[in-house]
Assembly symmetry: C2
Homo-oligomer: 279 residues x 2
Amino acid sequence: MSGERLSLVNGQPVTEININDRDFNFGDGLFETIAVRDGQALLWAAHVRRLIEGARRLGIALPSETVLAREVQLLCGNAARAVLKIIIARGVRGQDKAPDGAAGPTRVLRRLPASDYPARYWRDGVCVRVCQRRLARDPQLAGIKHLCRLPQTMARAEWQDEFAEGLMLDDSGAVIEGTKSNLFIVANGKLQTPELSGAGVWGVARAWMMERAAATGLQVSVESISLEAVYAADEIFITNSLIGLWPVRELEGKAYSVGPVTKTLQATLADAFPVPRDL
Amino acid sequence: MSGERLSLVNGQPVTEININDRDFNFGDGLFETIAVRDGQALLWAAHVRRLIEGARRLGIALPSETVLAREVQLLCGNAARAVLKIIIARGVRGQDKAPDGAAGPTRVLRRLPASDYPARYWRDGVCVRVCQRRLARDPQLAGIKHLCRLPQTMARAEWQDEFAEGLMLDDSGAVIEGTKSNLFIVANGKLQTPELSGAGVWGVARAWMMERAAATGLQVSVESISLEAVYAADEIFITNSLIGLWPVRELEGKAYSVGPVTKTLQATLADAFPVPRDL
């Protein structure tokens, strides 16, 4: 198989899904968005771990990792750079919200073109806004990458292309994450990232960055972080599985420099993320 | 056209949707579930009003009511009894959560078999439980019938067939609604229903019932209602567009009788809801 956009639905190369799928009707499922480089799905084990936790919480029977890995190889084995999207939906059931029934889950694997962001986003940093849209605290859905993403969609609709990302607060005013990324701040030489027990997604890149930072001897903590603390920070950056790390150079008019902690961590990126070749 | 299950996607009779539809990827859309009797979509104007409010909140361009009404007639004009489901999704867009783009919304109209509940549900009432799963308060999504329904799906997974419905509380402990219905309680001869500014769906049947109750001279109020107030109530019933009104005869072991207020309101049902012929 080759081509820019390919999809497998339950192992079959199709581009449509059954209209009875509960995902389409109730957002009832999980997803992962994974960078592919030289035929390899990057940070694969961590993405699978998050899927397993999500499936446990939602009570969805996950296909075996062997099945997923075989289909990833089939779709992306020949891709130099691509984005792999996996959707695990509860599958085709009746109209009622009762999730029991005979049919198994629907698995969708999609190969999509790699994102094409300017190299300056990594080198000089990005402009970020603070979204008006708040995230509701819902501990049973916090952390996992489920498909009910209306709050993020509504937040993203607040701007056009003038910002690279928007930060979202929960309804108590704590900063949680971006619409598609996790946040880190550096204050007094220590690295901090918001705690996500009530809202947000446990980013695979976030976990990787925390491990990498600790390995370099940095003090790393997970905390409730106010917007004031973000503004007062010495350095800020955002992370996700597709971009790795982008420094933030401006947040609502406040300027930040790409500081030493950000630079140290960014130097380790090329191991695990498809950063631009000229970085 | 005839048959038990039929679907129109953007006016075409198909059973699949494009895998790029944002609904499938982010739960980005709205739905309505409408009772059909003798070729007519019941309470049509109220369902359209809720769609209009939902589309306004989510920034989705709604198809004209003329287009919708024509397709309803095409699908359901010959149906004695059926369920009409309408999904308005934001449509096919890119991978980013940015909702702007060229393609218009996807409209899906589905004709499904009428629900087949026992007549005793209307006559004698139903057994209801209290769900463990709580609803997060999210005022920007409260009221409208959007597609992100994981909390209701998780709540419904708490039981098999031993109950007809489960009540859901918000995270402050206020009773909000059932997984597929709205709640009314009668206390001291007055009718009360939970206020839904933070969570829940403005049921079309709920609005109809409030108007009808007021017209019969009953005092009707929208209030924050505790679980204790529900247990202490003289009568309880639940409503939705498909069932009309079911009395609750038991809630977590506490028994209720089908009282005079419930009976008065139930006597008006046949005008607007497909109640069983032998009721």
